[in-house]
């Protein structure tokens, strides 16, 4: 047993059971939201059971010494359990055969977006810094979600071999990304090709989360501008917080993953 584990302050069984009783309605509401969005039945498709299991698990693992409220600790796990149950359900499989193809693809894509934007599982839009204007922040976050979803579709289409009429669109996106510094290319690649969240990229790169989040926002702005005007906009400079990574990516990993894709398909 590790030191952190031994120092954790777990609840007694009775206290944990009380948490379950107190929060079961809330856990069910999470399962209902997932079912509503994906047009499933939260009970028949087993989302209620998955949410309850996750709630019980969290009540047993909840560590009061960490100072995190129970809902803050448990929501992501309950949501994850609900979405996993949804994807394994008969309703999900049935929809794949009897719903319109666009809806089926949209559903798969939306499930994939949780890997890129895990804060959605906490019931939050990906807003990392408030500007003080809630409406503008929500709009910017939604724009980021839309562009992110578009990049994930691009990735999947490239992997599957795009239809000839789509090829130009995808090549245009990759060409714009290939114009970026290698460290910027890797940031986009990690997030949209590997499905790693911005926070996890920051952890992997041993840098502050805000460095990565702010840089990502700049890159989204660059992509939007470049794609809108039909030619690459001036490439963004690497912010000082990420400068130590520039040399590492230049020397160790070539010119960047999107440059490599373009070179290999030229």
């Amino acid at each position: 047993m590790g030191k952190a584990e031994s120092e954790a302050q777990r609840l007694s069984e009775e206290e944990a059971n009380n948490l379950v009783v107190e929060h079961h309605g809330w856990a069910e509401s999470i399962a209902r939201s997932v079912a509503r969005a994906w047009n499933l039945d939260w009970r028949l498709d087993g989302l209620d059971g998955a949410a309850m299991e996750a709630l019980i698990f969290c009540s047993r693992r909840f560590d009061t010494s960490r100072g995190i409220p129970f809902k803050g600790y448990a929501r992501r796990r309950i949501h994850e359990a609900s979405t996993e149950a949804a994807r394994r359900s008969k309703g999900w499989a049935r929809a794949a055969s009897n719903r319109p193809a666009a809806e089926v693809k949209a559903r798969e894509l939306s499930a994939e977006l949780y890997g890129v934007f895990p804060e959605l599982r906490d019931g939050q839009l990906p807003i990392y810094e408030s500007s003080g204007n809630d409406d503008a922040d929500a709009r910017a976050a939604i724009r980021e979600l839309l562009m992110g979803a578009s990049l994930v579709v691009t990735k999947e289409a490239i992997a599957a071999g795009p239809a000839p009429d789509e090829l130009m669109d995808y090549k245009r996106v990759v060409t714009v990304m290939a114009g970026l510094e290698p460290v910027h290319q890797w940031l986009l690649y990690k997030v949209y090709w590997d499905g790693t969240s911005l926070r996890n990229v920051a952890t992997e790169w041993e840098t502050d989360g805000l460095n990565v989040m702010r840089e990502h926002k700049v890159l989204m702005g660059y992509l939007q501008k470049s794609l809108a005007q039909g030619k690459p906009a001036p490439t963004p400079k690497v912010r000082p917080g990420l400068k130590p990574l520039v040399a590492k990516f230049k020397t160790a990993r070539g010119k960047g993953p999107f440059t490599d894709v373009l070179t290999s398909t030229a």
Binding site: S29, I142, D208
Partner: protein, 114 residues
């Protein structure tokens, strides 16, 4: 030389009894002294996320649903018109973002049932 009236006023009238001191308790042996542990440099400080002046930043609830869905449609339309989202992707992308938001909404009351 006779003492004046003023001198009399300066006399101390009475000395009250001093408070008695309490017994000093016996000291105890110092049981254990820990060494001062060396401090280590702070490796990395992560920003606190999700907490703003009015609670969590960007928290989305069921009563905001219609507003959020209309923002998704408006922004998808703008991005498609600008050519940022390819036309053949528009429907899937817009629908996926609506789904992911819908599945993340927090119901304001725990008691609501479908």
């Amino acid at each position: 030389m006779t003492k004046g009236r003023g001198d009399k006023e300066k006399k101390v009238g009475k000395v009250g009894a001093s408070d008695s001191t309490k017994g000093v308790r016996s000291t105890q042996a110092v049981s254990d002294v820990d060494k001062v542990k060396a401090t280590s440099a702070i490796g990395r400080v992560s920003a606190v996320s999700g907490v703003g002046a009015a609670g969590a930043i960007g928290r989305i609830t069921l009563d905001q649903r219609d507003r959020l869905m209309s923002i998704v449609s408006e922004e998808a339309s703008k991005l498609a018109a600008q050519g940022v989202i390819p036309p053949d992707q528009r429907e899937i992308v817009e629908q996926a973002v609506k789904m992911v938001i819908d599945a993340s909404l927090e119901e304001t009351s725990d008691e609501k049932k479908r």
